[in-house]
């Protein structure tokens, strides 16, 4: 529903913020994004997975294989210290951006 440009810009921020609470694996992240946005944001696997790899390459998240009894082992990602810092910066930037756009949209035509 939202344009791919908008989605691409925020995907990394969303992933980082979802990992803030606790480590999660890739499929779980995708599902969470869909459910928490009320179905409005859907990230297909082909875009989500490379994003995870990129974040891991930049050192913002770190993956670890976890064996669960009876289940296939999964790679759980957690936020690194650097990732936490970057998340904070991205949040601030996002807030400022939204506020700026709001000001323009809300202001009477002058």
């Amino acid at each position: 529903m939202f344009s791919s440009e908008l989605k691409k810009g925020s995907m990394e921020m969303l992933i980082l913020s979802l990992l803030e609470a606790r480590p999660r694996h890739g499929y779980e992240l995708g599902k969470l994004i869909e459910t928490r946005s009320g179905g409005k944001l859907k990230f297909a696997l082909p875009s989500l997975y490379p994003a995870l790899l990129r974040l891991e390459k930049r050192g913002l998240i770190k993956g670890r294989w976890v064996e669960e009894p009876g289940k296939r082992s999964r790679c759980f990602y957690r936020l690194t210290a650097e990732g936490l810092r970057v998340l904070g910066v991205k949040r601030e930037t996002w807030k400022e951006y939204v506020a700026a756009v709001d000001r323009i949209l809300g202001a009477p035509n002058a």
Binding site: H25, L45, Y49, L53, K57, C75
Partner: protein, 913 residues
Amino acid sequence: MRDWEDFVRGHLELPQLLPEREQRIVRELAAMLEDAAADARRAGLSPDEAETRMTSLIGDWTSLASDIQRADRPHRRPRLQTLQDRIDARPTGRAGRWTMLSRIPQDLLFALRMMRKRPFFTAAAILTLALAIGANTAIFSAVHGILLEPFPYPHPDRLGVVYTQWSPTSDVFWMSEQEVQDLRDQSQLFQGFASLLYGSATLLEGGDPMRLTVGMVSANLFSLLELQPAVGGFFSPDADVPGTPVQAILSHELWRTRFGGDPDIVDREIRFDSDTPVRVAGVLPEGFRLHVPKRTNFPARIDLWYPYQVDYRSGQRGNRNITTLAKLKPGATWSQAQAELDRIAASLREEFYPSDSEVTFPAFPLHSDTVREIRPTLLILLAASGLVLLIACVNIANFLLARGATRVKEFAIRTALGAGRGRLMSQSLIESLVLAIIGGAAGILLAWAGVRVLSAYLPSKLPRLDAIQIDAVVLGASTAVSLVAGFFSGVVPALRSARSDVNRSLKEGARGQTGSLRVRLRSILVVSEIALSLMLLIGGILIVRSFLNLQQIQLGYDPSDTLTFTVGLPSKRYPDDEARYRFFRTLQERIQGMAGVQSVSGNVLLPFGRFLWIPSFTFYHPGDDPSAEPQVISALARPALPGYFHTLRTPIAEGRDFEARDTSDSERVAIIDETLASRLWPDSSAIGKRLARGSLPKEPAYATIIGVVPNLCLTTLTGGRPGQVYWPAGQGSPGSISYAVRSRVPPQSLLKPIQAEVAALDPNLALDEIALLKDTVSEVMAPQRMTSVLMVAFALIGLTIALVGVYAVISYTVNLRTYEIGLRFALGARPWDVYKNVVGHGMRLAALGILLGLAGTAALAGTLRSLLFGVSATDPSSYAAVSLALLATASLACLLPARRAARVDPLAALHHE
């Protein structure tokens, strides 16, 4: 239940990733798909429906793969590895030769990977080889072009030059017309003789008056050379008979630049400053050059050719001004020809040369006589560059040996696992070959660039300058040299790598018995490097000292701040001495009056001028005894304008310079040089004595000597200087004068005003040979300068490489002996002892190398002799200085490893393996 990993693996291709990484990604994606399928089943889909949906969850696998590979960059495989695997994955061929050959790409890749793992060593090795091979290629291109390539004429080996020689010890000289005619009449073995003379003329067509260099030759020259004209034809056989209408043959360049390549040039009449217009007979082929030895003084570039119209039988036998080109008949040899010429000389001697009873006519093959002077220099430079290459190869062998030491275990294991000795050897060899080929390619590029740059600085009088180029032969030689260098560098290390004793190697590694043998080998190599380097350095020092000595030669005049040019007067408009002298004097006075001119004068030939005046025979009176037979001497004799020696700043030893009053109306006077003065009148002053110009039987015209000057350096820096006699131009004016203008301002700035003055006096005249005297003299030294620069460059390159070798070997030894050094420290040795030990070892190696090098240099010193001036080939001070310097720098090279050794921690060392 689907195996999701298989599914993913089947669809996702990640060739750029490492296997482990690929595995992890496949696992992860499989897990995600499995979770998604499970969710779909929970949502109510049947298992099959769920699976079908999942399989289409990822639509574009290719795009996903490229996104993943891009995102996963740090885990990418190195490209070489991918290439390697592709090759390994190929099905293996049949055993035998094909397997061997198919291994070569593998070995090549292996070599490339080894080189990439040691970037510094690889870069240093390639740079070393590039410099060495580049130097060799550049010098070889000169050797090939100048010494090896035959002249571009048909049957060049049958062409030669014939001279006259007074006695076996004197210099060779030109011939006279009579002598050439005698040879033509009496010789059986020669196809023909061509006479060559040169002069100038002013061309009055196609633009401003232009001074041309003219060759006056016998009509048979071009047919003797078997040339084909580019346009028209050559001289008719009777063209050199006096009275025949004069034809001219143009050089290709003159035809192109001055006449616009006019296709109708034949039979066109062109005007010169002399006589009647001349008809053009034809044009020479493009790029034609008459290559004759420098000692004939024949100009390298001729613009125009005339036939030399003279009655050969009626001229003076003593008037020697002809360069004689000769061609043997097919089948005749030069030794046979020389024997015949000796017989002819003997028969002429009886009749015509009673006092010069040793006159002969030596003949030399054209090519070898032309390159005679430059040959020793080129060969020595080639040898020097060869030495540099040898040092470079030895150095690389040294390094490969060292590297081999660290791989001893690896080789042992591979041998134990069945790798053949040949295989190991070929791998080692291939690495050094690859290094050499890359270095060789870089070297060829360096050489090509170097030759272009150097060509601009080479003396223009070098024979066959145009033939120096990197052509197919030079490229081929260079490639061969690279391969040989690669083989030579790699063969010793390769042999070492294959001969390792498997058991011992596995147990001891680099430190074992094989280690000490390796050290000995490396030490031998380093000693030889030092020896070769010493030879190069001594050669370089000797040549540089020679060059410096050359620069110190007393010229007898001051060439600075002096502009020179030549003005030639056509005989038609200036038919007698009076007319010519009037012109020359007027011009001299006008120039003297110009602003910025300090003094101006002239001579028919200035120092190192292009044209050599013909010496005339002079008489002198022995004492005051008029009845005594006047003795004949040969001297260089020249007319000069007033104030000549003052302008040249030549100190007058006795008497005075020529002055304006020395004209045809006043007493006949002459000035001679100190050499002649002391030879003719050793016990008294020459002033007031009398000298006559001319030759028997005419009435000699005596002149009184009014001045004595030092012997000037006029034609050669290092050769003997014949006696010099001067007379005033007012008492016998030549057809052309070379002016020397000493100025207070930059001399070039006077050129335009001078040209204006000349044009004002006579608009149909052109200046010629415009140069700064300083440049002219400097150019004479250009070959020696070039040789010095090159030798020093080679010597320094060789030295640097050798010192790096010393450093490496000492460093290596220190590493090997870490255990032992630690032990010494533990037993109470002080750092200073270790220092001494290490540096001492290095200096012993260097000393051995120096001794060997001194022996080698002394043995080969004779070859350098021809290049040296003022310094002996076995000059002890040079040898000693270089040896000490080398010893000092070698010990410096040992300092760093010595420092490392002195800092060894005993505890760590004792545990070192």
